[in-house]
């Protein structure tokens, strides 16, 4: 046998199995709160709305994020450096609400090196799944006001006029930072997605 199993859409009915959130007789394996009591780092919220090519909200979207801890370490033994010494897992999953919105509570990740050992700016990976999407899309969430963005080797690959779609902007002035990151699946304002 050769070749991978092809992807198929998550469809419109994944919620009771993957993101029940108390609405179905099934427990959540994951949710939108990544913060554990022993997690160190700056607590942040990332929130936004998902839109389709007509600018209509997408209420049946599943979003997953994967990120390093505040010191840039992944909770995965494949990260051969010292593993995080907390219960922070770095993974979250939510379904969008009826109004197309989502939110993750997490910590701002530290810097992770690129394959040349050059530091990347703090970023969170995001996978986007929905009815009408036969294969999920990958994007990256960067943070507005972060000086390291200017030298980030991945942002540098993105045409300058599209980079803003990858940069979450802080939406509040007091309390824990809330970053806004809207996702446009298509259109003039289309979010940059990566072929990885």
């Amino acid at each position: 046998m050769s070749g991978i199993t092809p992807s198929q859409t998550v469809g419109p009915y994944f919620k009771y199995g993957l993101t029940p959130n108390g609405e179905y007789e099934w427990n959540d394996a994951f949710d939108g709160n990544l913060v554990t009591p022993d997690t160190s780092g700056e607590r942040i919220r990332v929130e936004g709305t998902v839109y389709d090519g007509d600018g209509k909200i997408v209420p049946d979207c599943m979003l997953e994020i994967w990120q390093a801890d505040s010191q840039g370490r992944f909770s995965d033994p494949q990260d051969k450096r010292a593993l995080p010494n907390t219960s922070f897992r770095g993974f979250g999953r939510v379904g969008t609400s009826k109004d197309g919105t989502y939110a993750f509570d997490t910590i701002k990740p530290g810097q992770v090196a690129d394959p040349d050992g050059k530091p990347q700016a703090p970023h969170i990976l995001m996978a986007v799944f929905a009815r009408g999407m036969l294969l999920h899309l990958y994007t990256r969430i960067y943070f507005g006001g972060e000086a390291a963005n200017a030298a980030d080797p991945v942002l540098a690959l993105v045409p300058a006029d599209r980079r803003a779609t990858l940069i979450a902007q802080q939406a509040n002035c007091t309390g824990n930072a809330v970053y806004r990151f809207d996702i446009h699946l298509q259109g003039d304002n289309e979010t940059v997605f990566f072929e990885v």
């Binding site: 199993t5 198929q8 009915y13 009771y16 394996a29 394959p115 990976l125 009408g132 990566f194």
Partner: protein, 233 residues
Amino acid sequence: MTLAYPISSLKAHPARLSPDYKSTVKRSPQKPLIIMRHTLSELTGPVYGHETVRENDNDLTIQHKGEPLGERIIVHGHVLDEDGRGVPNTLVELWQANACGRYIHVVDQHPAPLDPNFTGAGRTTSDASGYYKFITIKPGAYPWGNHHNAWRPAHIHFSVFGHSFVSRLVTQMYFPGDPLFPFDPIFNSVTDAAARERMISSFDLENTKPEWALAYRFNIVLRGKNATPMETK
């Protein structure tokens, strides 16, 4: 550009814009995706094992007071990577319609009965060799609004993690010989016939339990790596 997980593997997937499946038209990007080297962020991934799964989460027929209606089946197989190695201790989640083709999801309102003894969600982890097993009931075909007289072939939705965030896979498992295959734009969004075959489980007489349940085997193949060890700095 050489990538730790070659992107040539992605050729098996459907095109994101597959107009016969109408919902793809406004939900697929029109601008080019950016190709980039995999960094540690892409090469690592969530590690979830037994602690995520409760006893009996892999048996969808005993989650309620009574037994669900329908044909009890065993669905099992291996999670493998493209290099043929088993993917151990990885989370496998599934969800499906009941025997009548009705989902418990509130948006599914087509005129088929719900089954009070069937939710249709399960999860398990693969063992050290990549093997996983579920007990469930065979889902029914169901109608959908894509085009006149559109029916989905019977299928079970699967979600699998694998070695890294870029090996993440959500797919659907089909049953052999389904007469609806030629008419389903989601199944046929995979244009390569051999790749389509990999979404179809095989009837597994050997593992059928006499007087109790038929068995279907479904191996799930995830992206594999080049032989070079991953660099971390």
